[in-house]
Subunit: 376 residues, 2 copies
């Protein structure tokens, strides 16, 4: 795929590169995408008009163009996160067949991972800031495609009202997109990694392992068996243009979740972070994941267990709930919280297969010496 139709941002033979067109033309094109998004997704947040007098009253959102954006928050509590996605580190243009798909996917994924972080705190997004680094040979339509992908992610359910408030355009050897997402808490508390208590249920919302399966296919590490085309597409989408459920965190919080985070680095690794922040033992009930592992096994039977337990970038929401609570819609129980006597970590409960420990040892932070005795 990547050899025959590379979707590189730079095309040495192409016209309309950002270098040829110049910053003003590129910014104007990006601005069109931003203005259209803001008008559609946040129709009440008009850009402040040029004032006749001494500056505009603060509080109206001021769009890109001034030194900074000005927003009025409904709530003085601000939730903020930032993340960078770099070409060849976090994505390869060759993953896509066409440039337009690649650009859109890169923008979508850069925004989605930040929006997922806000959701995982129980917040809803109100604004994105975008810092876009492009090689001089980048085609204008690639730059516009990235911003369109960002806009697409910011119109997902749960992101209503989220504006693209401004940003920065710079030059570099490869494409790099840094997004800062700003949000507002949806409840009286935020959903933190700390807060899980012995007796809580451990639950997850959203598929696991799909992005890792998609990555393995895109990188040529596995050749999926025939007959699983729709699953393959879902896995490729999970890697190339993820669409995390941005309402999962707020729903969890409203249902009394005690702790939570999104699964961006793999279930075991992220569960370990929650366990350590909460100073508890998380006992995974592996049989609860059996169906998911079997399903992904249609792509590659030898890899599916590793994808589900260790694969990152799914942006599923991992959360803990009081033991007696009904789980909110979309969440499924995958384990329980126990006390750990000072050695927090993740442990296998139920049917522990031979592959389990070797996988944990390969997971770095999830395999900690001395933690085997904790909470069992």
């Amino acid at each position: 795929m990547s050899e025959t139709r590379p979707a590189d941002p730079a095309d040495p033979e192409g016209a309309d590169t950002v270098q040829q067109l110049g910053e003003d033309v590129v910014l104007a094109a990006l601005r069109e995408v931003i203005d259209a998004h803001n008008a559609h997704n946040a129709p009440d947040a008009h850009r402040a008009p040029a004032p006749p007098g001494r500056g505009v009253p603060v509080g109206m959102p001021v769009g890109p163009g001034d030194d900074a954006a000005v927003l009025r928050l409904e709530d003085p509590r601000l939730v903020a996160t930032t993340d960078t996605m770099s070409q060849d580190q976090d994505f390869r243009p060759g993953w896509w067949a066409y440039p337009a798909e690649a650009a859109h996917g890169v923008g979508t994924k850069a925004a989605a991972q930040n929006l997922s972080d806000l959701s995982a705190m129980g917040a809803r997004p109100v604004a994105l800031l975008v810092s876009l680094t492009l090689p001089p040979q980048t085609r204008l339509d690639w730059a516009v495609g990235v911003m369109s992908g960002i806009a697409a992610a910011a119109t997902a359910p749960g992101a209503a009202g989220c504006v693209i408030a401004g940003g920065d355009l710079g030059s570099g050897d490869v494409v790099s997109v840094t997004i800062t997402a700003l949000g507002t808490p949806t409840g009286a508390r935020s959903l933190l990694r700390s807060g899980a208590r012995p007796g809580d249920q451990l639950a997850v919302c959203g598929p696991l392992g799909r992005a890792a399966a998609g990555l393995a296919v895109l990188e040529g590490e596995v050749s999926p068996a025939r007959g699983a085309e729709s699953l393959l597409e879902a896995c490729l989408d999970a890697q190339r243009r993820p669409a995390p459920d941005l309402t999962a965190g707020p729903r969890a919080l409203a249902s009394g979740a005690t702790a939570g985070l999104d699964v961006s680095d793999g279930l075991l690794r992220d569960a370990d972070r929650l366990a350590r922040a909460s100073e508890v033992a998380l006992v995974l009930e592996e049989q609860s994941l059996a169906e998911e592992i079997t399903a992904l096994g249609r792509l590659d039977a030898h890899s599916s267990r590793g994808w589900v337990l260790g694969g990152g970038e799914d942006y599923a929401l991992l959360a803990t709930f009081p033991g007696e609570a009904d789980l909110p819609e979309g969440f499924r129980r995958i384990g329980e919280v126990r006390s750990c006597d000072g050695a927090p970590g993740v442990f296998a409960g139920g049917t522990v297969s031979a592959g389990w420990d070797s996988l944990r040892q390969g997971e770095g932070p999830a395999s900690r010496s001395g933690s085997q005795s904790c909470g069992k």
Copy 2:
């Protein structure tokens, strides 16, 4: 300088690279810098303790570690800006003699340019988010030095209370630092580019041309004459570790400024932006810059005029004030605002030298066809 003692972030022979040490060690080292900064600069903003129950009340700042930072703003009005600084595009490690200087300078400059944007809106900074991309071979002390430089910039006068609220650490071919600065307006209004009115005075706060002079020396384009060592040092500092006056924007706003922005891309270019946003003609009184041009001429007589009129990255504050107003301390008049009949731009008043037009033509956005007749 760059050939004998390169201050590269990567040292193939060195131990203690971020790759060798791993993410957890690097994050812990960066976290120490961040915690020390926050404790010193914002002693009242304690990090939320791990809660015994169901999460902490939102409103306490939660430090790096969770999916996002949570801050409580004193004011629901939020001013936000973001900017990326990339190795070889925005700085070269060879500009510095020692790695520690380089890392500190890169962090300082990355933060300063964002903090200056907030000041230019009349805002004071409350939080920085840092997305740091490092090559795997980067030495740990280089990474720590960048964060220390960021912390140093965030303790400048005008930045009291500004925390480093969190960030992201990633891998890439070269060092790249993206900072998002969040601030609070200091007055009822923000200082925008629009708002200048005919009859206003045009004024600037801070030196002009020094960063450009420093860049020319660092890039080997000029060899400064002897006898100007202290001026040379000031110019090198202006380029390598700028210290913009973060109180300039709030002071301008308090004195009734009608419009303003920081001079990040050169006086003529940024003045043109203000003129266009305000739909006015800005008439520069070039004689007001003569002393500055003469002074920088001690480094290179042929370049000093271009440095003062076209050099970027000085982060001086350019602002307009009512014609009858006393300028606030630190500001000097450099021109006036006139009506432009629909063709805004920057024009020379007073003594117009032969070099003026050619310089404007070289400045791109500042030389617009048809604007010569406007407002004169």
